[in-house]
């Protein structure tokens, strides 16, 4: 028995997914909306980064479906008791990676702990040794065979990845051949030579790379701690993967919070001018002159105090951590709308003088309709560019804020918290480096892909860059 749990951020994340899907359906028949996207997917770089981003997104979405499992029934129980631990679909998929917890630090692929421990031998003698890990490489009778075992598992993984990609290649070939009414064999050849308009070959290569990684991790992480374990013995790989959701939530929900402010106020200021403009300009210049970190720190600390005083509001720890995450998104959003607002105000000032807005006025079209039908659609490209570019900045901002201590809840797994923890690990001797490296690699890949993708989006949507 399970009980679904819908956290605040889950609801908002899925709302966002629905909005994107609705927009995609709407845009399908509108040539002017499709054309720039078609240009985006023609770029090889954009397609490759899109594949990487999709992998992250799928992980994040799987991690956003939460539930609680029922506790085993005890005698005399009236109703089912649910566990206080909130799990996600991703947790069940990761299975052993989550549950195989060691005692303390262990290096990647290690079979022994990273620290000496006093162990009482059979003869009653106490020695200080590096004990074998409980799970990592536990199936090996002799740790010396580790290399061969890893190689064998890697080979299986490679075979799985290649066959999965090959199946995908065939599937893509069949679909394209059917759509273009061409023989399958010719289509497959075209795909392999990279002669299609949309760079399918690049996409397939990116998929192959990701499939290879996933297969490797899946095969190896069952028997080893691929990225090592942290101070309390938790798998670093698990932490890194779980942090993906935190990063994505911060990157997307913050813009969701920011957009209404920026779009609404920016258009108002530009279209109505006069005192409306004065008030809005005053608002954002004031907000802009307060250091953002100061505002965020003050708000987060106040929230923290409130939560500590009202523990009865939260049924589980997860809910509490989630609310803090949402609050961080809110406060980040409130402090970051000014830039886009200023941009939209300027553009609206320009657009409102254009002839087609004047023509609409001459028809007696109401102001609200002019704003929605004539101004908003012509501002959307700016909004989109800003959202995509801001995304990576926000992911990085989370890391910085958590490092400073005013970011997400310490129990929430996030790259920022991992980096914060690594501060002490780097200082100890011998050094523990894998936490930092793992967080860095995961975050770097996401931000790089997002940046490359946003470049392509900007090129396609910015009218000033068109010839």
């Amino acid at each position: 028995m399970i009980q679904p749990v819908i956290l605040w951020t889950d609801a908002l994340v899925f709302l966002l997914v629905v909005v994107v899907l609705v927009f995609a359906l709407y845009a399908r028949n509108k040539e002017h909306l499709r054309a720039p996207w078609r240009q985006v997917v023609r770029s090889r770089m954009a397609v490759a980064s899109l594949v990487v981003l999709s992998a992250y997104t799928v992980t994040g979405l799987l991690d956003s479906i939460h539930f609680r499992t029922a506790l085993p029934e005890t005698a005399g129980q009236r109703e089912i008791q649910y566990s206080g631990e909130v799990l996600s679909v991703l947790d069940t998929l990761l299975g052993p990676v989550r549950t195989q917890v060691e005692k303390s630090y262990s290096a990647p692929f290690a079979t022994h702990l990273y620290t000496r421990e006093s162990v009482t031998t059979g003869e009653g003698e106490t020695v200080r040794i590096f004990p074998r890990l409980q799970f990592g490489g536990a199936h090996l009778a002799d740790p010396a065979h580790k290399g061969a075992d890893i190689a064998a598992r890697s080979a299986i993984a490679a075979a799985q990845a290649v066959s999965a990609t090959a199946a995908l290649y065939l599937l893509a070939g069949v679909m394209l051949a059917r759509r273009r009414r061409r023989p399958l064999f010719a289509m497959l050849g075209q795909l392999a030579r990279g002669e299609t308009e949309i760079p399918w070959r690049t996409a397939l290569l990116a998929v192959l790379l990701i499939a290879l990684l996933v297969a490797l991790l899946a095969n190896l992480s069952a028997a080893y701690h691929v990225l090592g374990t942290d101070k309390v013995g938790q798998d670093v790989l698990y932490q890194s993967i779980k942090s993906i959701r935190t990063g994505l939530v911060i990157g997307t929900l913050t813009t969701l919070v920011m957009l209404p402010f920026a779009v609404f106020l920016g258009m108002m200021a530009g279209y109505f001018r006069g005192w409306v403009d004065d008030v809005i300009q005053y608002l954002y210049t004031t907000l802009n002159s307060i250091p953002g970190v100061l505002l965020i720190a003050a708000a987060v600390l106040m929230m923290q105090v409130y939560m500590a005083n009202h523990p009865e509001l939260f049924e589980t720890m997860a809910e509490r951590a989630d609310l803090r995450l949402l609050f961080l998104c809110l406060i980040l959003g409130v402090t970051s709308w000014t830039g886009l607002c200023r941009l939209l105000r300027g553009e609206t000032l320009k657009l409102r003088e254009l002839d087609y807005v004047q023509a609409a006025t001459a028809f007696g079209v109401s102001r609200a309709t002019i704003l929605v039908r004539h101004l908003l659609p012509n501002l959307l490209h700016l909004v989109l560019i800003a959202v995509v570019i801001d995304f990576s900045g926000l992911v990085l901002a989370e890391a910085v804020l958590s490092y400073v201590g005013v970011g997400v809840d310490p129990t929430t797994l996030s790259w920022g918290n991992m980096i914060n923890g690594a501060r002490l690990e780097m200082a100890r001797e011998p050094m523990v480096w894998w936490s930092l490296l793992a967080a860095f690699t995961f975050m770097f890949t996401l931000v790089l892909a997002a940046n490359l993708f946003s470049d392509a989006v900007r090129d396609a949507f910015d009218p000033r860059l068109r010839r």
Partner: protein, 673 residues
């Protein structure tokens, strides 16, 4: 024969590669002698500017490249020169001036420094010597008070002044050849006359050759010694000026002439060139003009016409000139019947005023300082009174900045009038507010100048046309409205299925048709046409003017036609009001004002229009200086500082209105009441 200064043979340019690559210049040959003015004439998109740029090897990089041909300057092959060699040619031996003086000057450098830069590059002059030479040049291009102007920035100068500065920069290298790419298109007629006069005078003094690129037959007539007509990347006709204007040989040239509106063609349909310039990314099987030609026959579609020399330096690229082919009878006879007819009768005798504007004023406050105090007003429209009867056209004529567009928008209540009355069918529009004004708006509509910015690029054509109906809640339910949209599209000469397309898929002329359909959708009684044809080519302009005429006789519309183009006025308008600095200086029936102008400004305006009939040598009444700022108009008569006939009284008071006849009024001290 002496060697020509510039000899271009078989020049070919290609932009982009593959199927999308276009050939804007495809086998162009001509030559220019010293001291000669050679005019390259054609519509937009014909490759005129590309030809000029490729002479200097300044094609847009990396897409453009010269694929063939030779350009010889004084016998020296320019195509073979290294890039460093080209640098001394550009600006040195060949100088160029561009269409848009506003963007051709660097806004953060003083004009003196910009001229000096060119002097330093080509003559190696520095310091005091250079400064002295700059002052001489400023003097030569007719800029008064050169000492002061030397240290000024481009934004402090007017459009005409900036174009003079551009010419001064071009002259700094002491060029043998001056390429002028539409040098006066962005300027007003009176300023255009000044600039053209200046180019002519400089050419006489220095013996420069001029390559003049233009679309304006009037300018060609006044300036050129030799004319080449370009169409779709090729020169289709070449002739000395007099021969060309006496008898144009290529059908395209002839149709350009007949598409020009003027008073002699009143009440007739203008000849139109159907269609548009073909896309240049194709390989042509036949004549490039075949699809639009009124004399074409089957042979034109099959064979590419050769270049036929018909005299020394005269030639035409047309099968009609081929002595070995006998052309069948003209397809044009049918068209001629249509164009020759008097299709538009005089307006009915009953004269009821539709719109009556009385003492309209529009002032824009000038804010200054920290508290944004009002320190003055821009008097854009200052006491304008006009009236338009039903089914008639009033033309509002004036130079840019005289307030004619502002007046139009204030009449439509798109701008708030500072004072005055606007009565539409007896209803005072300035007093209407909110819903009452909103529902009234269906009766008066507007067509804009720029067909590219006047439609929302994110809406389909059908939605654009339907918008007015939806806003006014007329036209019934959705299916009926859609039917009406299709009917409107047919009415303006487009196809019903165009409703599903987006504005960017249409050419300028087609867009203007859509704008007209949009205005018609709400069944207006008055349409304000704000320079509806000034962004269009001559042949397309004729199509639009015909359409406007047709609609007027069909639907009994009234037009307020705002324009600076007097030939359009004489063709289309019933009455004319001439505006200068926010006020109407002369008003009357079109023949009264255009045939016997009384106000010195009207006289000057009319004489400045380059005419193709006048044989080149007309006495242009030159106006000194530019339009003064409407924020501080001159005391007395606004026109007196520029007026060639000003008397002492003019500096003291603004003249009262004088009725010269029942329909002709003027405000000038020369005609005391």
């Amino acid at each position: 024969m002496t060697q020509p200064l510039l000899d271009v043979t078989d020049l070919r340019v290609r932009i982009g590669a593959g199927d999308r690559g276009i050939r804007p210049v495809d086998g162009v040959s001509f030559h220019i002698r010293r001291g000669e003015t050679f005019a390259l004439l054609g519509e937009s998109g014909c490759g005129k500017s590309m030809t000029a740029l490729s002479l200097l090897r300044l094609l847009p990089q990396p897409a453009g490249r010269i694929t063939g041909g030779s350009v010889k300057l004084d016998g020296e092959e320019l195509m073979a020169l290294p890039e460093t060699g080209m640098r001394s040619i550009r600006g040195g031996r060949i100088a160029m001036i561009f269409q848009e003086p506003m963007t051709s000057l660097n806004p953060v450098m003083t004009v003196g420094a910009q001229i000096e830069e060119s002097l330093q590059q080509h003559q190696g002059l520095r310091g005091a010597v250079a400064r002295q030479r700059v002052l001489e040049l400023l003097d030569a291009v007719g800029i008064p008070d050169a000492e002061r102007r030397y240290g000024e920035y481009p934004h402090q100068l007017s459009g005409g002044m900036k174009q003079r500065i551009m010419i001064a920069i071009a002259l700094a290298g002491d060029p043998d050849l001056l390429i002028a790419d539409e040098p006066t298109t962005a300027l007003d007629v009176t300023i255009q006359a000044q600039v053209l006069e200046l180019i002519k005078q400089l050419q006489r003094e220095r013996g420069m050759a001029v390559l003049l690129i233009t679309h304006d037959l009037g300018v060609v007539s006044g300036m050129a010694d030799h004319v080449a007509v370009m169409y779709a990347g090729q020169i289709v006709e070449q002739a000395p000026r007099d021969a060309f204007f006496a008898q144009p040989r290529h059908p395209y040239s002839r149709m350009l002439f007949s598409a020009l509106p003027d008073s002699s063609k009143r009440e007739e349909r203008l000849a139109v060139i159907p269609g548009t310039v073909p896309a240049l990314n194709q390989t042509f099987q036949g004549c490039r003009f075949a699809g639009r030609c009124d004399r074409g026959w089957a042979h034109c579609e099959r064979a590419v016409p050769e270049w036929f020399e018909t005299g020394s330096e005269t030639g035409v690229r047309c099968h009609l000139a081929d002595p070995q082919i006998s052309a069948p009878g003209s397809r044009a006879e049918e068209a001629d019947r249509a164009t020759g007819q008097r299709v538009y009768g005089e307006a009915g005798a009953v004269r009821t005023e539709l719109l009556q504007v009385d003492g309209l004023k529009v002032f824009f406050p000038i804010h200054k300082g920290f508290f944004k105090r009002v320190v003055g007003h821009v008097r854009a429209v200052d006491d304008v009174s006009i009236s338009i009867p039903r089914g008639q056209t009033l033309a509002l004529v004036g130079e840019s900045g005289c307030g004619k567009t502002t007046a139009g928008k204030a009449i439509l209540q798109l701008l708030e009038a500072t004072a005055g009355k606007v009565q539409f069918e007896g209803v005072e529009l300035t007093a209407l507010r909110g819903e009452a004004l909103r529902s009234r708006r269906r009766d008066f509509q507007i067509i804009f100048q720029d067909p590219f910015s006047s439609m929302n690029p994110r809406m389909s054509v059908g939605d654009i046309i339907e918008e007015g109906m939806t806003a006014q809640r007329i036209g019934g339910a959705a299916p009926q409205r859609r039917q009406r949209v299709q009917q409107l599209l047919e009415q303006v000469g487009l196809r019903p299925e165009h409703a599903h397309r987006y504005p960017h898929e249409f050419s300028g002329g087609q867009r203007q048709r859509i704008c007209i359909a949009r205005a018609l959708a709400v069944n207006p009684k008055l349409i304000v046409c704000d320079e509806p044809t000034s962004a269009l080519d001559v042949s397309v302009q004729a199509q639009i003017l015909n359409l406007l005429q047709d609609l007027q006789s069909e639907l009994g519309l009234s037009y307020l036609f705002i324009t600076h183009d007097l030939s359009v006025v004489s063709y289309l308008a019933d009455r004319v009001a001439v505006m200068y600095l926010g006020r109407i200086v002369e008003e009357g029936e079109v023949h009264e004002v255009l045939d016997s102008p009384r106000h010195p400004y009207t006289e000057a305006l009319l004489s400045a229009v380059p005419s193709i009939d006048a044989g080149g040598e007309t006495t242009v009444i030159r106006l000194e200086g530019d339009l003064p700022s409407p924020s501080s108009p001159p005391a007395g008569c606004h026109f007196h500082p520029r007026c060639p006939r000003a008397v002492a009284e003019c500096t003291r008071s603004y003249p009262q209105r004088t009725d010269l006849s029942a329909t002709h009024q003027v405000r000038c001290h020369l005609y005391p009441g």
